[in-house]
């Protein structure tokens, strides 16, 4: 049984539901107690399209996690994804009153509020506003301005927002189980918490989380989030391409992709074939390995190239010194790091959650990066605000709720 604070991360993925149960120890370390998973249905591109079915799947996943970790799950942190999630950088500014020149906590709060006073589409809600740097009277790169003297306090924030109703759908799905939702977190942000070390964040790094339905990315420079976003293309698309290109059922295509697929071209023997055994409802078939790899290669190349073009709209990628970190289920494809490195022209590697206690075998699977990242995120947040009611959080994110 858990002795410390229990935290549960829930990722409702396009291909599967991941539930990771962990506990924070008094010494601040995080221990994974158990991992539950269930194949998901009713979810496309990271978003729920069939509410009932999706709910059943989430339930299965949660039950699995409860059994594996031997705890009762009451509340969870949920990761969200989907093409509707967008981000931008904004600078907030407050002037200190004339009679005071020492910056205090309230000023910092004010500048946060100020930074968020930007127009996002009416139907959107803020997911995160992440501090990048403070500026005091034009002095750049201030990490903590409290106690400093100054007249003008500015703060750069990275703001991630998404369509309110779509986020609420995910929340509702969990709440009907019924489980409490502690917080909703953007998937890539969660993954980055465990995939990157602080050093790598400072050095600059791009995390690309290629899941089933979406490819989420987040870019750190100087230890701060500079860019993030979602491309609604993922491993499912590869499977679909294979299925259509080779004219085989989806399930077969998926199996073929995970077992035999590679995105490196020209690396197999000419005429080398893979034999698909016949099965009920499927006559056996022989397919050329190069054909399979070409399909995968073309899709992944396109994903990376799109990503590169998107990211290059802003200059931050030039300051990335740590390289690219690929995670998520799709990162298990052979040669993906090679391809990403080639396209982005910087070192790329496949990675997973680092430095955790407990069930480390789970941590070593990039499929769980996001769910484990949720725990880390939760841990970090809970230090800030020990135990807050769910209501307060929600009033923060969704002023319209409750």
């Amino acid at each position: 049984m858990a002795s410390g604070d229990l935290i549960v991360g829930l990722e409702i993925g396009t291909s599967k539901i991941c539930v990771v149960v962990g506990e924070t120890r008094p010494d601040g370390t995080l221990k994974i107690l158990g991992v539950g998973q269930a194949p998901s249905r009713g979810i496309r591109k990271g978003e729920i399209v069939d509410f009932e079915t999706a709910m059943k799947c989430v339930h299965e996943g949660v039950v699995d996690a409860e059994q594996k970790s031997d705890v009762m799950i009451r509340s969870v942190f949920v990761a969200v994804a989907g093409s509707h999630i967008e981000s931008f950088n904004n600078r907030g500014c407050v002037m200190l009153p004339e009679d005071r020149d020492e910056i205090d906590d309230q000023d910092v709060e004010d500048v946060k509020v100020n930074a968020r006073e930007v127009s996002i589409p009416a139907q959107n809600a803020f997911l995160h506003s992440i501090i990048q740097h403070y500026h005091v009277d034009g002095q750049d790169g201030v990490l903590n301005p409290v106690g400093m003297l100054g007249e003008k306090l500015e703060a750069d924030f990275h703001i991630i927002h998404g369509v309110r109703t779509r986020i609420q759908n995910t929340i509702r799905c969990v709440k009907e189980l019924p489980l409490e939702v502690e917080d909703v977190v953007f998937g890539a942000l969660a993954s980055a918490q465990v995939v990157l070390t602080q050093h790598q964040k400072n050095l600059g790094a791009l995390v690309v989380d290629i899941g089933g339905g979406t490819t989420d990315y987040i870019l750190y420079v100087d230890g701060a989030v500079k860019q993030s976003g979602v491309l609604a293309v993922g491993g499912d698309h590869i499977t679909n391409d294979i299925s259509m290109g080779l004219r085989i059922p989806m399930a077969r295509a998926e199996k073929l992709k995970t077992e035999e697929g590679s995105c490196i071209l020209g690396n197999c023997l000419p005429g080398e074939t893979i034999v698909l055994k016949d099965d009920s409802g499927f006559a056996g078939k022989e397919i050329e390995r190069e054909t399979l790899n070409t399909i995968i290669h073309l899709r992944l190349r396109e994903i990376f190239e799109l990503l590169k073009r998107t990211i290059e709209e802003e200059p931050f990628i030039n300051y990335v010194g740590g390289g690219i970190f690929i995670t998520g289920g799709c990162s298990l494809l052979n040669g993906i790091d090679h391809l990403a490195g080639e396209i982005f022209e910087m070192p790329a590697r496949v990675t997973h959650a680092q430095k955790l206690a407990g069930l480390t075998s789970a941590a070593e699977n990039p499929q769980f990066s996001t769910a484990i990242g949720l725990l880390k995120y939760a841990q970090a947040v809970q230090v800030d605000r020990p135990r807050r009611g769910i209501g307060r959080i929600f009033s923060r994110f969704f002023p319209g709720m409750r």
Partner: protein, 488 residues
């Protein structure tokens, strides 16, 4: 990496590696030598030739020849090719001694300056007289170096073409594409040196490595046939898991290759794939198949492969070809009148050399002789009538009559001196033809590209979901369909 040491022997072919010398003429040439040495060539095979003593002193070559002790007094030529030429003539004997014994001589020179432009053709000529096979690597000056240098370089190139068996010409302007715009000028020149060194290295390997499918001089010449043209050269090396692909990509990345696009216009392409004992047939097959995408159907691919235990798990690809360059051909049709000293009184010399044309050389180059000399003699015969003998004679021949007796080998292969001289002139119409030729097939290749049209746009499992439209494309449709790439 390349060991030119003698410990390798191939019983059936030859007992010893072909003796090779790399000659750097002028300061650009000796810079290239530095790089060649760094890349692992034996110091004793390098010869630096220069008028400038100071530059010569800093050269890494084991053998150094100072040109024009009395005419330039150890100073440079000040960019005057004529002075360079005079100096070389003055020191002809020394040069001869330095290059003696080599069967194959690479002459590296930066054209445009005094020593490089003036002396390199002389060195090449002397080397030919000594019976060696001469391949010249010439760099043309950057265009920012001025028109004067450019025209000096063109003159020198024309003359080099006349005397050398093959000239591989690098345009420095194109090298510039290889380095970042912000890189220092040193770096740009360094890249040129590096490319030369790479070429020397790979040609040496090409010729010396015992081949399963061997590439001989004849193949090399066939690939470099369009003289005056633009040389396409690519070299790639890799030891990664996907080395066949990587090595080829690297070879095609060479700026002289223009990512393989230039290959589409070449009529002969020479490819050598070399690797350690671990090289598999399928690797070679993959590589050649990939390369095949870059060349036209009727391009003749001369393929060679070699296995060398020293290569370990590395795999190298060397691609050599040439294009007849449109503008350079034109500019060389009417070369500017040569300076006086070049027009020497030579008909006598010509006849002298003509005599031994018999057949003594067959033992010298068993691989090469038949095709090369045959072609050369023919061309010589063809053009003998039309070509005024004086214009294509290289002044050096003045010295010739005195020379032959002491060095018998010279006599043997002296005849080879003549054919190439006429070659460029005879070549011109051919070259022009070749210029035109690529144009039509180019269109053909365009037309050949199949357009795979498909009417219904299929999205498969995403049929009913919200489409993901990015940059005007529906990403749910398989990439290979959208890009019209045939996968089966």
């Amino acid at each position: 990496m390349i060991q030119l040491s003698k410990n390798y022997s191939l019983p059936e072919r030859q007992e010893e590696p072909i003796p090779i010398k790399v000659v750097g003429v002028g300061s650009a040439g000796s810079n290239a030598l530095d790089r060649v040495l760094l890349d692992g060539m034996d110091k004793n095979d390098l010869i630096a030739i220069n008028t400038d003593v100071q530059a010569l002193a800093t050269s890494v070559a084991a053998r150094k020849v100072q040109l024009g002790r009395t005419s330039t007094h150890g100073l440079g030529t000040g960019g005057d090719p004529e002075l360079g030429y005079q100096a070389a003539i003055e020191s002809a004997e020394e040069i001869r001694q330095a290059i003696a014994g080599a069967r194959m001589i690479f002459v590296c020179a930066g054209l445009g300056g005094g020593t490089g432009s003036g002396a390199a053709p002389v060195v090449a000529q002397l080397a030919r007289e000594a019976g060696s096979l001469v391949i010249a690597f010439a760099t043309l000056p950057f265009s920012f170096e001025g028109k004067r240098r450019a025209s000096q370089a063109q003159d020198a190139l024309t003359r080099l073409n006349e005397v050398a068996n093959a000239v591989i010409c690098f345009e420095n302007d194109r090298m510039g594409d290889m380095v970042a715009p912000k890189a220092g000028i040193h770096q740009a020149f360094g890249v040129a040196d590096m490319t030369i060194s790479q070429s020397v290295r790979s040609i040496v390997n090409l010729i010396q490595r015992p081949g399963l499918i061997r590439i001989g001089f004849d193949d090399l010449f066939a690939a470099l046939r369009s003289q005056n043209g633009r040389c396409l050269f690519g070299f790639g090396e890799s030891n990664s898991d996907n080395r066949a692909h990587d090595a080829l990509t690297q070879a095609l990345k060479n700026p002289l290759m223009d990512k393989g696009r230039m290959l589409g216009e070449a009529s002969h392409v020479l490819v050598q794939v070399a690797g350690g004992p671990g090289m598999t047939l399928s690797e070679v097959e993959i590589l050649m198949r990939e390369l095949g995408k870059h060349v036209r159907d009727h391009t003749q691919i001369v393929f060679g492969t070699a296995v060398d235990g020293k290569m370990g798990n590395r795999l190298t690809v060397t691609i050599i070809s040439s294009l007849a360059a449109e503008d350079s051909v034109e500019s060389q049709i009417a070369p500017p009148p040569m300076p006086e000293p070049f027009l020497a009184p030579p008909p006598a010399a010509l006849e002298e050399i003509d005599e031994p044309v018999s057949q003594p050389k067959i033992h010298a180059w068993p691989d090469v002789e038949a095709p090369v000399s045959g072609a050369m003699n023919e061309s010589a015969a063809d053009t003998a009538a039309t070509t005024p003998p004086a214009s294509d004679l290289i002044p050096l021949e003045q010295a010739m009559p005195i020379e032959p007796p002491p060095a018998p080998p010279i006599k043997k292969s002296a005849p080879r001196l003549i054919p190439p001289k006429k070659k460029p002139i005879e070549k011109l119409p051919v070259a022009e033809k070749e210029v035109k030729q690529p144009k039509t097939p180019k269109e053909k290749t365009h037309a050949k590209q199949e357009m795979m049209q498909f009417e219904p746009v299929t999205r498969g499992r995403f049929e009913k979901s919200e489409p993901t439209i990015v940059e005007g494309q529906d990403l749910d449709v398989p990439t290979f369909l959208r890009k019209n790439i045939k996968v089966k």
